[in-house]
């Protein structure tokens, strides 16, 4: 059986576990919304009597409307239990309910005791909702700037493990397929990596190979003190079944600091670092199988561009030979 937890060269797993509690709470609130929404939609008369407002066509209409709102929040939360947006939608709904219940006290035929109980119940739920929403908003913000970026991607390349290993082991080859790298220079076993930063900022650091099993795997990590963004990586080469070449698996971990530099690093990797690495691996496959990175009329431009030939001297990232 294949085990899907990997360890780095120094024996520490570079996987991380996420707190489950927020997810469970979000789901609980989601089901609560669905239940309440269904009750309001299907039995508005019963709900009106329960919370002590007059049961008439107007209150039934309002309760059905609230039911639709609850169902929307509920389904949203069940789909994305950790989404601050859906949690805030519940807080907003609670506020609406409290206003409507407050209105209820002005109605003469209202039953004050039941209204009071219903208001207290909604106030309690509001507290839970507001707490969940606030803490999820905080978590979401924190996870964007301070969290380590950890990516694991794999691809199959129609070359032998030894051939892929040799290409990778010459680190100066990496920038030909890793889009964010400008260059890697190797002198006396220490390599200097230069990355393309945002705003034409160039970031550079030194790295050392920590593990080298010819034809099997290579691991490296940044040299302490040469960067504010400690990073390490490991690449494994395994024969693919059925004469299909080599399964190449890359694992990278970056630890960006909190703050502006962290944000810059996050930007460097785009919204989805795992997609960036997947594209890098696809380019590696192109280089090893076809000899070069394939360009299209649109892909040679840095941003969105219509698929048509470029003007001579246009701003392109591809090679116009």
């Amino acid at each position: 059986m294949q085990q899907l937890t990997h360890e780095t060269s120094n024996g520490h797993p570079i996987s991380q576990s996420r707190p489950r509690r927020a997810k469970r709470r979000g789901r609980g609130l989601g089901w609560f919304s669905v239940g309440l929404g269904l009750a309001e939609l299907l039995a508005p008369g019963g709900i009106a009597r329960l919370i002590g407002v007059p049961d008439n066509s107007r209150s039934r209409l309002i309760l059905r409307g609230l039911g639709v709102r609850e169902l929307t929040s509920g389904i949203g939360l069940l789909a994305q239990p950790e989404s601050p947006g859906w949690l805030w939608s519940r807080v907003l709904g609670d506020a609406m309910d409290l206003v409507l219940l407050g209105d209820g006290f002005t109605i003469k035929r209202g039953r004050q005791g039941r209204l009071l109980a219903a208001t207290a119940a909604v106030a309690g739920v509001t507290a839970i909702d507001a707490f969940s929403a606030a803490s999820q908003t905080r978590n979401a913000t924190l996870s964007k700037v301070g969290a380590p970026i950890h990516v694991r991607k794999t691809i199959t390349i129609k070359r032998t493990p030894q051939e892929v290993y040799e290409f990778w082991r010459d680190l100066s080859n990496l920038p030909t397929f890793m889009a964010h790298l400008e260059s890697i220079e190797v002198t006396n076993g220490v390599s200097t990596w230069r990355a393309k930063g945002p705003l034409a900022l160039s970031i550079s650091w030194q790295a050392e190979v920590t593990l080298d099993h010819p034809g099997q795997s290579i691991a490296w990590r940044s040299v302490e003190g040469t960067t504010n963004v400690p990073n390490r990586g490991v690449v494994r080469f395994a024969p693919a079944p059925g004469d299909r070449g080599t399964e190449v698996e890359v694992e990278l971990k970056y630890e960006p600091p909190v703050g502006a530099l962290g944000a810059a690093v996050a930007k460097l990797f785009g919204e989805e670092p795992s997609q960036q690495i997947a594209s890098d691996l696809r380019r590696l496959k192109q280089v090893l199988e076809t000899g070069e990175v394939l360009h299209s009329d649109a892909s040679i431009h840095p941003g969105l561009h219509p698929a048509r030939p470029a003007r001579k001297g246009a701003d392109t990232k591809g090679s116009l030979q």
Partner: protein
């Protein structure tokens, strides 16, 4: 150079764009002599395929003369006359070596976009959206062709452009549609759609030995072409005849041995399902209308094959999976692996077994591309296939 560019729903403009340049060492540039409008271009024209950009050069059926070669090109020389297959394929990856070139693993620089929609990425295609690579197409005076030693096929001087142009897509696509039916002597094949791909599916089913080939469409001129030129033995106009009753009659109540869907995502029909699918498409909850496909599945004989050549882009609703499972049907599909059919089909043309030019109804200068799209889309003037002459 002049090129036909996409500018949104039902708007194409022939305008001046820069000449193509060699971008990779395995590229050639060709001067386009003939190019055609494909039924699948109508899906772009009608706005059904996502990830198009205003200004994209259209066209994936084209041929011409090599005018420039990249430094790693070994087989082609300046002056060679070639037809270019519509899938862009490297020839080196596992998929290409298996002969499944429309699944080339190296030819889509925007593979990540295709993965988001379809799970994995197929090959890149000329002039067919950014999710299939963002390559400029061939409805232009010049075109850049990557992997030139693997894709384009040289064609002999004694065959005219009109005879060989359709090797680029619709002839191999129709042929593969018929080949996927595993036709055995005595079999009956039904083909939904008598557009150009349907015509070649019919002709190919005959070439592959089908006993009877039934063409189903709603345009009398297309059905007439199917019967007189492609070799259909029977035709059904579904606006006049009940398709089910007719197929039962033609097959002794068994149903066709194999059914080919040569219609795709913009299919027409009568009745509430059509109205429902149209509405869902308009509301963008169901991008593709699978009416022909549903009928093909229902009508196919027990244990038969449903071969899908028509293009689908996204999702379909109310798919009759119960019929597929309980009646042991096989569904086969795919964008055509055109490369593997080029040489054998060129041979059939040279031997005179088929002259693919029979589908051409309109020859227009490239400058009139917009008119060609309009005629083809509205099925005006008996339009079956429009060829644009660039030079």
């Amino acid at each position: 150079m002049k090129a036909n560019c996409w500018y949104g729903k039902r708007k194409v403009i022939v305008e001046d764009v820069p000449d193509p340049q060699i971008l990779n060492a395995h590229d050639v540039i060709i001067r386009v002599t003939s190019t055609a409008i494909c039924g699948s271009d109508l899906h772009l024209y009608n706005g059904f395929i996502p990830t198009m950009e205003h200004g994209d050069v259209l066209g994936h059926e084209f041929m011409g003369e090599v005018v420039e070669v990249g430094r790693n090109v070994k087989k082609l020389k300046v002056g060679d006359r070639v037809v270019v297959p519509f899938p862009i394929a490297c020839g080196h990856c596992h998929a290409c070596q298996q002969g499944t070139t429309s699944l080339c693993e190296n030819s889509n620089p925007n593979a990540w976009m295709a993965e988001k929609l379809w799970g994995h990425s197929p090959c890149g295609i000329f002039g067919y959206s950014h999710l299939l690579g963002g390559f400029a197409g061939g409805q232009a005076e010049y075109a850049r062709v990557p992997f030139a030693d693997f894709g384009p096929i040289k064609v002999p001087a004694h065959l005219s452009d009109d005879q060989v142009l359709f090797l680029s897509d619709i002839f191999p696509t129709g042929y593969m549609g018929a080949e996927m039916c595993d036709i055995k002597p005595g079999q009956v094949i039904a083909v939904w759609g008598a557009g150009p791909v349907g015509q070649f599916a019919i002709a190919s089913a005959k070439l592959l030995g089908a006993e009877r080939v039934i063409s189903i469409d709603r345009f009398p001129y297309r059905l007439q072409m199917a019967a007189e030129k492609a070799g259909a033995t029977d035709i059904i106009n579904y606006e006049q005849t009940d398709v089910h009753e007719a197929l039962m009659e033609f097959t002794g109540g068994r149903g066709p041995d194999a059914c080919i869907d040569a219609v795709g995502l913009e299919s027409h029909a009568h009745g509430p399902m059509y109205a429902l699918d149209r509405t869902k498409q308009a509301l963008m909850v169901e991008p593709d209308r699978p009416l022909a496909l549903r009928q093909a599945i229902r009508e196919c004989k027990n244990g038969g094959i449903v071969s899908v050549s028509g293009v689908y882009g996204g999702f379909v609703d109310t798919f009759p999976m119960g019929a597929v499972v309980n009646r042991a049907l096989t569904i086969r599909s795919g964008q055509c692996h055109a490369h593997r059919y080029l040489a054998p089909l060129l041979e059939r043309i040279e031997r005179g077994e088929i002259d693919p030019s029979f589908v051409i109804t309109h020859r227009l200068p490239l400058a009139d591309a917009a008119k060609g799209y309009d005629l083809f889309h509205k099925k005006l003037e008996g339009c079956e296939k429009v060829v644009l002459k660039a030079a």
